[in-house]
């Protein structure tokens, strides 16, 4: 067995950074391979099918450990959640079918939580996408200390949540820095965390934490846009705006969707910060679905928690489905 190409690949992980180069490279490997094995396909269809079947099985084998683990620690728990959502309570476990869903749907706290989670995600996620794209464009234009800036923007990822919360409290406390700043301009104090502004504070916290990573994703995508296309566009006197809309956006559309997904995941994680800021029952504009689940869990109302979780899952399936379709629609022509 002779494997020059793969070794080559092993030695050049760095090429992975530039898909264009790498793809070309690999294509040449492919060409070589074809030469070394003459007429590979014709006349051996049945055996190749068999081989394919075997490969299918083997590849499924690779999937197996993960699948078993996921089944045990994620699917099974989820099924238990489904079960809980249909019983009256975890102790007596009487089957009630959809009563819990009706009950939870009429629960004022759940509605509040769903509304808050929705508004938070709808405002924070697009902001995270747009702002990080903006940052990425800014850094992309060959400014000095580019890599240092990149590191700085990523730094919030590393700060432990407890410290983040600590600092946020110092900033947004009723007597905190923000209000001191306002008092310089003779403005009234705002109780940031106990008023309608609470969600704004949380959005800022979320952006601060997540912009860096999103930005990196975008920078990577921007750098992978074929340079010749951009050059041609400039030569064709396209305005930067046109370049942005018609070329860049198009090429990074799949990244945008990816960033959206990642931001969505992270937007659910903001609960921990809110929790550490204000405990189980924060001001009502900060009250998220996770609060609802967390609290109902600690009060043994598993059925409420489960029903809420399942509704959340359904909404999630719909959103992901839409994103899938959107990507299929937009992303195809550039991805190849």
């Amino acid at each position: 067995m002779h494997f020059p190409k793969s070794r080559k690949g092993q030695r050049m992980p760095r090429f992975a950074a530039h898909p264009y180069v790498k793809e070309n490279n690999l294509r040449s490997i492919e060409r070589n391979t074809k030469i070394t094995v003459p007429s590979p396909k014709r006349g051996r269809k049945s055996s190749s099918n068999k081989k394919k079947h075997r490969g299918r099985l083997i590849s499924a084998g690779y999937l197996l450990p993960s699948a078993v683990g996921v089944l045990l620690f994620f699917v099974l728990p989820f099924l238990i959640v489904v079960y809980y959502s249909m019983i009256d309570n975890p102790i007596s476990a009487q089957f009630v079918l959809f009563d819990n869903f009706v009950m939870v749907f009429q629960n004022a706290a759940f509605i509040q939580a769903a509304k808050n989670t929705f508004t938070f995600s709808v405002s924070a996620v697009p902001l995270a996408v747009v702002l990080s794209l903006f940052l990425a464009m800014m850094l992309e234009s060959k400014i000095p200390f580019q890599s240092q800036f990149r590191t700085f923007f990523l730094s919030p990822m590393m700060v432990p949540i407890a410290s983040v919360v600590l600092i946020w409290q110092v900033l947004f406390h009723f007597n905190g820095m923000m209000n001191e700043l306002r008092s310089i301009f003779d403005l009234d104090k705002i109780d940031w965390l106990n008023s309608g502004y609470a969600q704004v504070v949380i959005v800022i916290l979320f952006l601060w934490k997540n912009l860096g990573y999103n930005m990196i994703l975008f920078m990577a995508a921007l750098s992978s846009i074929p340079k010749d296309i951009l050059e041609v566009a400039i030569l064709e006197s396209a305005s930067p705006f046109q370049v942005f809309i018609h070329i860049k956006l198009r090429y990074i559309s799949s990244t945008i969707l990816f960033v959206t997904i990642m931001s969505l995941i992270n937007s659910f994680k903001v609960f921990r910060e809110i929790y550490l800021l204000k405990g189980d029952y924060p001001y009502d504009t900060m009250y998220m679905l996770q609060h609802f689940m967390n609290n109902t869990f600690s009060r043994l109302d598993y059925q409420k928690m489960s029903a809420a979780a399942i509704m959340m899952a359904i909404v999630m399936v719909i959103i992901i489905g839409i994103l899938f379709l959107t990507e299929n629609y937009f992303g195809k022509d550039v991805e190849g």
Binding site: N89, A108, N175, N194, D280, Y281, T296, L300
Partner: protein, 764 residues
């Protein structure tokens, strides 16, 4: 090699820093894998299937109490107070106890009669007894009053063979201020030096000829002292890390650093010499062997598992045949009951297995501990093991408890104290106990209906107590009238009319919240409609009221006594309990006139609350051993047990069974007499009760007193609320800006309303 080459290449490329970082990461990774391996193997060693089996023996002699115990191999020496038939009193006798055969031999020791007490003693390395004896001398005048008293304390070395004193030393020569000292611990190190310790004053060290070597002063109270197998003497004290062991360093004349690796322990802690390791450590919960060389401790067993109350342990030792012996002492009115217990290691399979019942509670109180041990000893079918979840603030213990309740880990018996009873009852966690009562032939009518009712929901009995008391608030009847209860506005009107600065003896903001809000939080929440009233007038009024109180009470402020302040109406209200008729009697004396137990404000004007004393019990609805769990519950409400609570005067509060309660009242009303010089029977005081600077001799209760207490006991029908700390935290947190003058009361109330509204919505 290749990796090193690669690293070098990388070093050139990325700089040394990266390499350092990488190697650091590699080291931690490898170390962590090593760590994993270690943590995996540990539990396997414990599961060797061996358990300790107890064997209970009576002591070979009878004594009123044993004052001193000193182990010496397979023997022990005990100094006991035994009845002196000749002089119709008690005298100290020293026994040489053969532990292997459970026999005792009385030693005749010189100079041990009269008013001599043995404070401490041990078996010296030379085989003789070393003891500290004190003698109390006094002279009486004609009236029998003591006019002159003195105390001497002596260190003696006594021959075991003939009981003669070999050597003695007046401790006044060793200990400064001997009159204030009481030698609690006596130890001997490998060189034969003796260490005398008197609580917190100091450790005094003498050599084997009783010549003083040095004193070591102490900062903390000494909770134990013992000589290790290695021949060093250690003391146990509490510091910020809990209980720690420190070596007494004679050469340096000070205490060493705390020994590392010794875990914190609680309760009745004692240290005893060990044969196999350095020291034996006994706490209320477990028995451990401490190895000082490696700084490790090994748990031998949990006292509960061998049916011994760890709080009663007097001494523990190891025998040469591998058994462990211990003497436990149970307090009772007629003299202490001693039990000698041998613990033998056996294979679990050789021991007849009982059905296991799990008692789950946040913590195990002493009364329940005793009841469970009694149950385990007497029941052949069931054995109760205890699972304590811990009693910290962060709520994770309750979360654990709840998670267990829904899983197969569910405890069979549930200790409801400090848990949300009504939540568990309404969620179906608990089993209705009325059918069990019926099956066992127990009549509901034999028990206080109002207390049962407090544990009822929809006519089902979800919990029960064996003993309870009432928490209430007291005020003069002349000020508040006869009725036991008032509403919050009435209460606020009342204090506004009077001087609000001194409503309570020690009023802090938190106590005002507790008084006005937490104990009747349902007044502010309408669970039917889900409306909250924290923005309402009453709550804002309460906030403003609380603002007049200090944040923290200064207990040190110089004031006249509480009784005087109550009598002159400087203090109007007093939170207190009704736990005995005597307490009721004292309160009337304290106030100087009739007291109304007005209780906590509540719209129904029923402010007295039932509080369990020593465990309230429920049976888990998911339990597989409901019958066994019920057998335990039955045992604590049985006639025998309830009567014993009264007879032994055990616990605190009133029994729930009417008959026992009446017996208690009868006892309370029975006067006690003494004979004066002329031979007349004169009623004497039963006991003395005090509060703050006030003291009162309590005579037999009158029918009126008893009727009043009975009235209080039978009228309370609410359990003392376990208000969710979530709510109290929200209130204290958001009220703070108002107290600090940053926000108006209405604004603060608005935020409270907002946050609690979510809580309420969620739970509907």
């Amino acid at each position: 090699m290749k990796t090193i080459e690669k690293m070098c290449q990388k070093a050139r490329r990325k700089g040394i820093l990266r390499v350092i970082i990488m190697s650091l990461v590699t080291v931690t990774l490898m170390a962590s894998l090593f760590g994993c391996g270690k943590s995996d193997t540990a539990p396997e060693e414990e599961k060797d299937g061996l358990i300790y089996v107890p064997e209970y023996q009576k002591l070979a002699f009878e004594a009123r109490y044993i004052s001193q115990l000193a182990p010496a191999g397979d023997e022990a020496y005990m100094a006991a107070m035994v009845e002196d038939k000749e002089n119709e009193g008690y005298k100290t006798v020293v026994y040489q106890y053969n532990l292997l055969e459970n026999t005792a031999k009385e030693l005749s020791i010189a100079d041990l009669d009269g008013d001599v007490n043995v404070n401490a003693f041990l078996i010296s390395g030379d085989g003789n007894l070393v003891m500290v004896v004190n003698q109390y001398q006094y002279e009486e005048d004609e009236n029998g009053e003591i006019v002159d008293s003195s105390m001497t304390m002596e260190l003696r070395r006594i021959s075991v063979d003939d009981g003669t004193v070999i050597n003695s030393q007046d401790l006044a020569n060793v200990v400064d201020r001997i009159e204030n000292s009481y030698i609690q611990y006596l130890c001997e190190d490998g060189q034969g030096n003796l260490y005398l310790c008197d609580g917190d004053q100091g450790i005094h060290i003498v050599d084997k000829d009783f010549n003083k070597l040095c004193d070591i002063s102490l900062d903390d109270w000494v909770d134990g002292m013992a000589a290790s197998k290695e021949g060093d003497v250690y003391i146990a004290t509490y510091n910020e890390n809990g209980m720690v062991l420190k070596k007494v360093d004679v050469a340096a004349k000070k205490l060493g650093e705390a020994v590392e690796g010794i875990e914190d322990v609680f309760g009745n802690v004692g240290y005893y010499p060990s044969v196999s390791k350095s020291l034996i450590q006994s706490s209320s919960n477990q028995l451990k062997l401490i190895d000082l060389e490696t700084g490790t401790s090994e748990e031998l067993f949990n006292w509960m598992d061998v049916d011994i109350d760890g709080n009663n342990i007097e001494i523990v030792g190891e025998l040469s045949d591998g058994r462990i012996w211990t003497i436990s002492r149970e307090y009772s009115e007629e003299g202490d009951q001693y039990e000698l217990v041998y613990l033998t290691r056996k294979k679990a399979s050789e021991v007849p297995q009982k059905e296991e019942i799990v008692y789950g509670a946040l913590w195990l109180d002493t009364l329940t501990r005793r009841a469970i041990i009694d149950f385990n000893k007497s029941n052949d079918q069931y054995h109760i093991s205890v699972k304590e979840y811990g009693n910290d603030f962060d709520g994770s213990q309750v979360a654990q408890f709840n998670a267990d309740l829904t899983s197969q880990n569910c405890p069979d018996l549930i200790g409801l104290t400090s848990l949300d009873f009504s939540q568990y009852a309404s969620k179906g966690v608990l089993e209705d106990m009325y059918p069990y009562m019926e099956k066992s032939g127990l009549d509901k009518g034999d028990y206080l209906e109002n207390v049962l009712k407090a544990f009822e929901q929809d006519g089902k009995l979800y919990g029960i107590v064996s003993q309870f008391y009432i928490t209430s608030t007291l005020a003069k009847e002349s000020l508040v009238g006869e009725e036991n209860g008032w509403t919050l506005s009435e209460m606020l009107d009342f204090v506004e009319k009077n001087n609000p600065e001194n409503v309570f003896m020690y009023g802090s903001r938190d106590s005002i919240f507790r008084y006005c809000i937490y104990n009747n939080i349902d007044e502010f929440i309408d669970w039917e409609t889900g409306k909250c009233f924290f923005e309402g007038e009453e709550f804002i009024r309460t906030l403003e009221f609380a603002a007049k109180f200090p944040e923290e009470v200064d207990y040190n402020q110089e004031e006249e006594g509480i009784s005087a302040r109550l009598r002159s109406n400087k203090v109007l209200l007093m939170e207190n309990t009704v736990s005995s008729v005597q307490e009721y009697q004292m309160m009337n004396g304290l106030f100087g006139e009739k007291v109304t137990y007005i209780g906590y404000p509540n719209s129904e004007r029923k402010g007295n609350l039932i509080q369990s004393s020593g465990g309230s019990f429920g049976i888990s609805a998911k339990s597989k051993h409901k019958e066994g769990a019920w057998e335990f519950v039955e045992s604590v409400i049985s006639k025998e047990y309830q009567d014993s609570l009264v007879e032994d005067n055990y616990g605190w509060g009133f029994p729930i069974r009417k008959e026992a309660l009446e017996k208690q009242f009868e006892n309370d009303m029975t006067p006690e007499y003494y004979e004066d010089e002329e031979g007349n029977k004169v009623e004497s005081s039963k006991t003395t009760w005090g509060y703050d600077d006030f003291q009162m001799e309590i005579m037999a209760a009158t029918q009126e007193d008893v009727d009043a207490v009975r009235g209080l006991l039978t009228s309370a029908d609410r359990l003392s609320g376990n208000v969710d700390t979530q709510l109290t935290n929200i209130i204290t947190e958001e009220a703070e800006p108002f107290f600090k003058g940053q926000k108006s009361a209405a604004d603060a109330a608005g935020v409270i309303q907002n946050r609690i509204q979510i809580y309420v919505n969620e739970n509907r």
